[in-house]
Symmetry: C2
Subunit: 124 residues, 2 copies
């Protein structure tokens, strides 16, 4: 069996043409076993209609384009290209887009990482 | 203690202005415990000067811009905006940029994910 799996999702700025609600989850596409990843475009002026938290997964948001407000436990944070936010499972979070907002969200089990970078890699 | 940590890395297309070799690792910036994430811009015409594999971590590459060739176990794969590649730990990988190549790489422990999406999230 090949040691990899590849897919194509097209241009992120046109993601709503291929994926409902402008969001694609990668877990099922790539058969992931270590993390769930979503790639999203939220249109200008939209708000997530709910708050959420997690049971055991840490989330990391990487904002690629646009502007908006991320709210965690009632604290409002301005977001734009290059903003990074890690949220612990118990953080209550929601988001709104002031301009078309493109972002990647990674969720993986808190405290599961044992080694990383040069510690897990091997030259060959 | 706050349930989040935020940082700013600026525009990815200018990442080499702020980070050596056009690469930033997020583990230490965000105190991650679930995954290591890097954001990279590889200049046109460059090749990684080594092959590598991993001990226990699955890697996921998300290509944001540019063109190049990703090689896994000797198999060459064309990469461009919207290409996604998951590599199992034992896959021997390297990469070259045919045009300025921007990508995000996530590594997390293979088989560590227990629940995801609606399974791990809770509305509140």
């Amino acid at each position: 069996m090949a040691n990899f799996k590849k897919s194509e999702i097209g241009k992120i700025e046109e993601i709503e043409k291929n994926y409902e609600n402008g969001k694609v989850f990668l877990h099922d596409i790539l058969n992931l076993t270590s993390s769930e990843i979503s790639i999203t475009k939220m249109p200008k002026g939209t708000k997530l209609p709910f708050n959420h938290k997690h049971k055991q997964n840490e989330e990391i948001y990487i904002f690629l384009k646009g502007e908006g407000i991320f709210t965690i436990d009632g604290e409002k944070i301005e977001i734009k290209e290059g903003t990074l936010i890690k949220v612990l499972p118990e953080g209550i979070r929601t988001m709104e887009a002031k301009d078309d907002l493109e972002y990647i969200c990674i969720q993986a089990k808190k405290d599961s990482l044992e080694q990383f970078g040069l510690g897990d890699g091997e030259l060959c």
